[in-house]
Each structure stands twice: as C-alpha cells, then as structure tokens.
Symmetry: C2
Subunit: 232 residues, 2 copies
Amino acid sequence: MKKSQNICDLKSCFLCKNTLKEWHPAISANKVNLKVKKGEVIFKEGDPVTGIYFVNSGSVKVYKKWDKDKELIVRFAREGSLFGHRGLGVGGTYPISAAALEPTIVCYVDVAFFEASIKVNSDFTYQLLMFLTEELKQSERKMRNLAHMSVKGRVAEALISLQNQFGVTADGFINIDLSRQDLSSYAGATYETVFRMMNELVSEKLISLSGKSIRLVNREELLKLAQDIVFL
Amino acid sequence: MKKSQNICDLKSCFLCKNTLKEWHPAISANKVNLKVKKGEVIFKEGDPVTGIYFVNSGSVKVYKKWDKDKELIVRFAREGSLFGHRGLGVGGTYPISAAALEPTIVCYVDVAFFEASIKVNSDFTYQLLMFLTEELKQSERKMRNLAHMSVKGRVAEALISLQNQFGVTADGFINIDLSRQDLSSYAGATYETVFRMMNELVSEKLISLSGKSIRLVNREELLKLAQDIVFL
DNA sequence: CGTAAATAATGACATTTATCATGTAATAAT
DNA sequence: ATTATTACATGATAAATGTCATTATTTACG
C-alpha cells in the first residue's frame, strides 16, 4: 500500500453524498489515501483496528479465512462503500480481512475520529445504522442459503448478485474480473463443485462463458434457481 | 398474543440500563406489552413492520424459514434484548420470523416512535450501532462456519453458544428447554445428522444427556472442535 | 522472450450429509 | 381416557459435495 498525494474526494461515498456535506471537509482533513495493488491485502483478521476505509475507486473483497487456502467472501465493497467498520466496538481487532480485487484507491479514516464523528453527527449515524441493518439482512439471508440451499442455487445467486453489484460490460458480461477461486469463495463451496455447477448452467443455457467472463443468458431461470421458497 | 395490563419495566434492557434513563419513561408511555405463549409466533417473514420488540422475560428464537419444515435459527433474544430491528430501513417487511421458546413477555414499541428516538438520542443510537456491529460479526462468523465447518463442529459451537447465552442449572445442564428440532435449526443441519453427532459427542464423553437436557462435560475438547483455525 | 508460478479444467474416488422409512415415546386435543 | 398429533430415535440408502491427482492454460516477472 502506498500513500497517495492526490486527495480522495469521496465523490461517490453513499454516506457522504446524501447527508454529510458539512462532515465531508472534516473527514478530508483526517484521512489518508492509499493506493492498493490488485490482490494486495489491506488488513486481515486479527490485525488491530486503527481505522475504517472508504473505497474511492476500484473494488475490494471482504472475507473470512478458514484454512490456509479456504475462505468465505462475505461481501464486496465498491466505489463509495465503506469497509472495516466491523472493527468498531469491542475486541479491537478486525474480525474479517480485506483485499483489493483490482488496482484500488481507498481512503482511510482514523477510528478515533470516526467514532467521535458518529457521536456528534446523528444524521450520519442514522445512515450508518441503516447501512448496518441492510448488511445484517443480507448476511442472514446468505446464512440461511448456506445452510439449506444447494450449491447450484448458491452459484446462481452469486452470479445474479455480482451482476447487480457490478453491472455488465458493453457485450453483456458481468463487469468484474473475479477469479474462479473467488467466485467459489463467494458461493461458499469448493472450486471443483462450483466448476461443475457452472458447466451445468452452461449446458442448460442459463449462462455463457468467454474466458473468465460470464454472461447471464436466462436470468429468469437463474432467479428461480436462486429464489427463496418464500411461503410454503 | 395477549395484551397485558402490568407495565413492562424494561429493568434489564441492555440499551436502556446504560444510556437511556431519560428515554426510558418515554418508551414506557409508547409501548404495549404482550404475553406470548410457548411456541407462539410473534411475527413472520413478510409481515409488514409495525414496531420493534424488547424481551421483558422469557426467550425468543429469531429464524429464517426455508421449506415448510426447514428453518435456520439466526439468534436467540433473551431478557433485555431487542428483536425485530431488522425491519428497520427499506422494505417495510420483516426479513425474519420470531417465536417464543417459553412463556414470554415482550414489549412492543411503535416503529415510528423508535425511529424518531434514534434520530434524537445519539447515545442510544450509538449503543444500537455497537449492538448491530456485534450482531454482524457473529452473523459473519456463523456464515463462514456454515460454509466450511463440519456439522459436528457446528453442533459443538451451538452447544457452547447456548451455554454462554443461557447459563447452566444447579445440576450443570444448559439452562434452556430447546427442542432437538430447534437445536438442529440452530446448528444449520438436519435433525438426523445432529442426532448422530450428539451421539458421537456423548460416546466421546464431551457431553452428557438427561432427557432433553444437555450438559457440557469436556468444554475444552468441545472448544477445540468448534474452534476457528485462526492462523494457518 | 522464456520460464516459474499461479490459476483453471477435469475425472476418479471418498466422505459427509440429507432423505426415507419405520417405530416409539411424549404431548395435546376431544 | 382415547385418540391424534407431534417430537424423538434409529438404521438403510441415496445424493450432494469435497478431496485428490493430473494435465492444461494463463499470468507474472526476471
């Protein structure tokens, strides 16, 4: 990670954009910009918490390790999103790890300053509250899916979720360059099983592949696969 | 559910006790007490959000349905804890269900009043923030475990977690009357598999059973089974 | 540009976990 | 008290998923 000279403008920070016009200059004065290379780890589980981060450009995976070579990707943080906030509160160490998926610029805010801001700016805190609630909902949904949904369903869900988050390129492929390993970690299964399910999805013409790129061909059917059995 | 005459005193509400001495009377004026029978559902996924709840006495399971007869218990709410807060924010419907595990008294606070309070009382909001962060951490830990830990490990973890939450009776049994079905839903596996794992744990002398009651005999070994492989 | 290292593809096999079937015990309803 | 219903116990079996081994392909980098 390399400190960058140019100031992170937080132009797209979901929290700042809406509610923090007056907070914004303060954060600008109290932060440091970091340039992170693709694959570089920003912090990892067990590291002492020193601050929280905003993604200025690029994208970051937030994950929890299991083995030396097994992990679960908990979420992605894109431009404007914050991460590292799980380090707040008791413990004093990050419960998760974060690494850049592409060349990324993050801005770093000291935790003391962040906590102080929370206590002062109730609008910001409210936004943060809503953000956490939403994350919690997603998280519990995913928990339930990991417990009861088949891997195929989880792959379908993961793909739809990726497309929702990252959109598509001009030729209709999901606009993120994710390794198959990372895709597996996101779906919460082994590489091999995910690979098999991807093959099935291809032969069922629900998705199509071009190298590492993935296109959702039959979104309807994918949704069915990924769908909650809501009432039954 | 039956409205109760006697006023819920919130004597043990973790949020109120510490930070809300002045907020407390206000909430007392704006709430309704409900008596809930064992097994009774307080709200379920998809129900429109009307308020949030505090447990005054008893205990509640918070769960997410999958099939007609499959669910995942996300957490338990005990005396003093709040639930239903996942209904805050967008959506307008509860993403989870809640049911009483024993005869329980909950107090219900109108969502509009709750949201207003959040915006006004920054101390309370801060406490809530910390609570959500902690829930999120737990939730992500459990996610990771569901993805990578064996059922046996999850059962061990579930049992330890139950003992931590509900304590033990005079004769050393976990102080909660939970059906085997619910235990399975908490561990995130089928009844049969959990049953087998319990048998293994008994024959390995890590736990002992007496009817439905469970005693942790060798906490050390259980912890090892449930433990994160932290660094590796 | 060429070589090492990482990532990906793929089949064979092992293990775990879920499903099904059946019987019993406990609980609730009439 | 009697019956119906629900929870619990248990083995047999099937299905899903993970592990391992091997080869191909891409990427990183000196």
